[in-house]
């Protein structure tokens, strides 16, 4: 029987949403598999998460250690290697902790590794069949892993249907003493909070959001004029901030701001999952992109295949004439 272990990321005593999504992923791997949650941390925050997880998982493993109070990936990995059986399937989120911890874990466990899984087709013999994306979401791929010696999978948050409610009444096993030596060569120092910018994009009902399609720093003015005509605010995707054309506080995405506007104008944005991860609240999404195959058209409500540099000034003018 397949044994599946799910690592629960948490903050301030609350599990992240992915904790509710692992059960659906585990079900798709092998409906008859055992599923155990693993929670690492320290003190009252850890206990709160462990208790929360007993309503969703029938088995919850708790690893309490002062060195795990902050999830330093190097420390977490060392503890997990001593806890997870060698032939198990281990699930963690494809987030900044999972990306930090999981590839090395698969090496230490000598198991297969598959990253950023968006769907699972199931097991045939010792082959696990999964789906992931490449090239910024432009194409999907079927991948197969030989899991005869176990597997480490990172699961894309939001890809599997969350379990609702839950009264699993799970049992808690304290494996703190099995974690072993947790000394590592990387020391967590502090979290530096994101800088607050001149404009708070999270407060605006309408966002004119620009991506690579803006092409040049001086073209940003075109987006600002459209935003002004609409009574909106300009936000952007990651490449615009990387190029230092706009402040980081204007970036929408998992590594930037999470916004909940009523209307989201995605102008020249291809639509990577990291970007869309920052767009919540089911807004009306208008996508304008000259590439008819841009992934953004799969999630937008309205799509327009045009060059934003030509389209935005015309739209601005028409709105001004209203």
């Amino acid at each position: 029987m397949t044994q599946i272990f799910a690592y629960i990321p948490h903050q301030n005593g609350v599990a992240e949403d992915i904790a509710m999504e692992y059960p659906a992923a585990a079900q798709k791997i092998d409906a008859s598999a055992s599923l155990t949650a693993i929670v690492t941390g320290s003190g009252a925050d850890l206990d709160a998460v462990v208790n929360e997880m007993t309503s969703i998982y029938s088995e919850v493993i708790k690893i309490d250690n002062a060195d795990l109070a902050y999830p330093n990936a190097e420390v977490v990995r060392k503890a997990l290697v001593n806890i997870i059986p060698g032939d198990a399937v281990f699930l963690t989120a494809h987030n900044t902790l999972g990306m930090d911890m999981a590839p090395g874990l698969s090496v230490k466990m000598d198991s297969a590794y598959a990253a950023d899984i968006v769907d699972i087709e199931g097991i045939e013999g010792s082959t696990l069949k999964m789906i992931r994306q490449e090239l910024g979401g432009a194409v999907s791929t079927h991948v197969e892993s030989d899991i005869s010696n176990g597997a480490v999978l990172t699961i894309r948050p939001g890809s599997f249907a969350p379990v609702e409610g839950g009264s699993a009444g799970g049992s808690i096993t304290d494996k703190s003493s099995d974690a072993g030596d947790l000394s590592v060569k990387r020391k967590f120092l502090e979290i530096v909070e994101a800088e607050v910018g001149d404009v708070d994009i999270t407060k605006s009902d309408v966002l004119v959001s620009i991506g690579r399609g803006i092409e040049d720093e001086e073209n940003i003015e075109i987006a600002q004029e459209l935003a002004e005509a609409m009574g909106a605010v300009v936000s952007c995707s990651r490449p615009i901030v990387d190029a230092k054309w706009l402040e980081k506080s204007r970036q929408v995405g998992t590594s930037g701001q999470t916004v909940k506007p009523k209307v989201y104008m995605a102008m020249g944005i291809s639509g990577s999952f990291q970007h869309l991860g920052g767009v919540k609240g089911n807004p009306f999404i208008v996508a304008v992109n000259k590439n008819p195959k841009a992934p953004i058209f799969q999630v937008a409500d309205v799509g327009i295949v045009e060059d934003i540099l030509d389209f935005m000034p015309e739209l601005t003018e028409s709105i001004q004439d209203l």
């Binding site: 194409v139 079927h142 892993s145 990387r186 967590f188 490449p239 590594s255 208008v286 015309e314 209203l322």
Partner: protein
Amino acid sequence: MEILVCVKRVPDTAENEFELNSAGNDLDRDDLVYSVNEWDNYAVEEAIQIVDKVGGNVTVVTVGDDESEEVLRREMAMGANDGVLLCDDAFEGSDGKGIAALLKAEVEKGNYDLIFTGAQADEGAGQVGGMLAAMLDLPYASLVNKIDASDGGTITVGREIEGGNQEMNEIELPCVISIQTGINEPRYVGIRGIRKVAKVEIPVKGASDLGIDGGSVGDAGAKTKRVDYFVPDLGDGAEMLEGSTEEIIEQLIEKLKAKGGL
């Protein structure tokens, strides 16, 4: 400081519209434009800036075919001192661990203080750096968007985490770091720069040079394999507005009015 930067030649997502081939199982690769993986340019720039400050050498390495030499030359034109191409038929079809095992063999032939990779490449896995570190038993930090390399035996790195926050860590040397975009502004490389390094000899190493059993890497050694490419059917997707630009704008304005956008 001796720094090794691992780079990759990839299809350029900004320059290509990806289509499947006629069999529907692979990309149509006939007219694809390739370039160096975007993250790797930031990694090479960071390495050059560190060496400019504290001294040392930057070496760039890639696993690939003959055509991958062009990305090594591009990074050398940026200012990397040396390049190494790991190339062998036996390497084809390697999974992340196969690539990491090849890079490990090359790392062990040098005496590096710092090993950089891009945070991710075309496949979007972000896996090779962490695997390489674990194979070498070196500490690792991923998604790094700030490095302070002024101290002796340790460096301070900032990791980009959720919400635009930054996680500061002190990490012992030698170590492996994966570099996130935005950490610096990679310098421009002109044709003259590329010409300057056009004749520099780039050593090519195969399985025997690296002391690697060909069966442990490549397709034979891969535990995770891509079966095919496909375009998923995600339902209807967006309602596409068509017609002249004028007509499109008229339709769009009506919709924006209805949804509170105007």
